[in-house]
């Protein structure tokens, strides 16, 4: 029997909702079958905790006396955008610091703020009639700021390729260190626990969906950048190449520093581990069937990161069960596989969201607008000529 969001929320309010994680649900469906399981389970929690470069924070510092229209801004030596109003800024997660480079970047500042630490704010301005101050040098904490919210333009990649290196040199990438001569394979996914792999056609995840973001209740605010729903799919509809993405928003003041962490990828740059949990309402048998997917049925391509021209070539299509097994056979060579995103923390997040829902602290929000299916990706063409 089909359920509505409202019916599920009423069950949550009464403390009667049956909530399980996307890993736990697999056995339930095996034992009870899709139909009975769809009646029994109300919400399935999914989660991921991986490096997501396209992340950052909007901050408002409040006005000093006399006020300043901040044009050049640094926070702990990390440049933040001076391209907004007087005391608004956007701090990008991957921005390296002026003094420590990629070892300490925007993501680390965001983590420090969430952890309640004081952060050194230095700003300069040419000065205007209404904003006469030209310099400011002070210390701020998250509590001092008027607003501080994460706005991550691209998180939660639905699927992502695995990486290998066929060259004779070690390479340093955002997929970690890749040893020469196909010495290792790295992959980054929560697989069967991953949010968008459990709702492959985005039937319940859309604009306005309430989520767990960094320990706070946040929202899906838009489709993520590089949103690609025209991606390759298997016969059931699960993407086998990078697919949909989400733009996420959430209040930093309610976040937990354990779930938003600065990361450094050697010779690549700073990134941010973002903890995301998304509840999937089991509205009907179709949704139950989607969330019962297992790693053995989810696939991705192993791409050669030593070749960049014309895209990384594909070496092999593999399942997440194979990647999780610890090794993959490529042309007769047994190659070790290693994860880049933390399944351990993703599981903690799925459980925490599960507890929130069971305790009646978190209710489902039906999307205000669903996202388009069949949205293709464009590249960037290099056009000749200096002026047009």
């Amino acid at each position: 029997m089909a359920k509505t969001y409202q019916e599920i929320n009423e069950k949550i309010a009464k403390g009667e909702a049956v909530v399980v994680t996307a890993e736990e649900v697999i056995d339930i469906v095996k034992k009870r079958g899709v139909k009975e399981a769809a009646d029994y389970v109300d919400v399935v929690t999914t989660a991921t905790f991986g490096p997501m470069c396209s992340s950052g924070a909007f901050l408002n510092f409040g006005h000093s006396d006399p006020p300043i229209r901040m044009a050049e801004i640094t926070l702990n030596g990390v440049v933040a955008s001076g391209g907004l109003a007087a005391v608004d800024t956007y701090l990008g997660a991957t921005q390296p610091s002026n003094d420590r480079g990629i070892e300490y970047g925007g993501a680390h500042v965001i983590n420090d703020l969430i952890a309640g630490k004081e952060v050194h704010l230095v700003a300069k301005s040419p000065g205007t009639d209404c904003y006469p101050r030209k310099e400011i040098d002070t210390w701020v904490t998250l509590a001092d700021l008027n607003e501080a919210y994460l706005f991550n333009p691209r998180n939660c990649y639905q699927n992502y390729n695995a990486a290998i290196n066929t060259s004779s040199k070690r390479i340093y990438t955002y997929m970690g260190i890749l040893q020469p001569n196909m010495g290792n394979i790295t992959y980054s996914t929560a697989g069967e626990l991953s949010p968008l792999l459990n709702d492959p056609l985005l039937k319940t995840i859309g604009m306005g969906t309430r989520i767990f973001l960094g320990g706070a209740q946040g929202y899906v605010s838009w489709m993520g950048t590089q949103f690609n729903t025209a991606c390759e799919r298997d016969e059931k509809g699960y993407p086998t190449t990078p697919g949909a993405t989400l733009a996420l928003i959430g209040n930093m003041k309610e976040m937990n520093p354990a779930y938003i962490r600065g990361a450094v990828y050697e010779k690549y740059g700073t990134s941010m581990f973002v903890g995301v949990g998304i509840p999937i309402p089991i509205l009907n048998e179709e949704m139950m069937s989607f969330v019962s997917v297992e790693n053995k049925d989810l696939h991705t391509n192993v791409l050669d990161y030593s070749v960049s021209k014309g895209g990384h070539p594909t070496l092999k299509k593999v399942s997440y069960a194979e990647l999780r097994s610890g090794s993959v056979d490529i042309n007769g060579k047994i190659i070790k596989t290693s994860p880049m995103s933390s399944l351990k923390v993703a599981r903690e997040i799925a459980l925490e969201l599960n507890h929130w829902i069971k305790k009646g602290k978190f209710f489902l929000q039906e999307p205000i607008q669903t996202f388009p299916i069949g949205n293709a990706l464009k590249g960037l063409e290099i056009k000749e000529g200096e002026s047009r």
């Binding site: 905790f49 991986g50 490096p51 070892e103 970690g176 260190i177 890749l178 040893q179 290792n184 790295t186 962490r261 990361a263 450094v264 990828y265 050697e266 990134s271 581990f273 070790k336 290693s338 994860p339 880049m340 995103s341 933390s342 399944l343 351990k344 923390v345 599981r347």
Partner: protein
Amino acid sequence: MITKKILLSFPKVATGKPMAMELIKTYNLDFSILKALIDDNIKGTLLLEIRGEANDLNAGIVFLRENQIGVKEVQSMVVVDEKKCISCGACTAVCAVNALEMDENWSLIHHEDKCLECMLCVKACPMRAIHAVM
């Protein structure tokens, strides 16, 4: 005959003592210096690999301690800070001998005795949770 890796930290007062000769002569210990660091005459740190009979080795360590030298046995050249580690697995990608490995719950485990001291994991860890012992 056994081999141990020990990390010695000695205050300024002890730096000049002919500790090495003493170890070899009195305790029949053979050793090689793996790494030495002298920090502006304030404190010195020395990583040694010492070889000898178990009794002699223990007696040698007692001798060092009596001379105000800090002695810590280390198995691996790297330490993982468990508070910082998020069990992402990035370090396991470069550890050729699986001294760093994910357990069945996808938690990182560190088999200190397997370490080959390549130090690649230090660079591979995005949380900078792995440090060289000195």
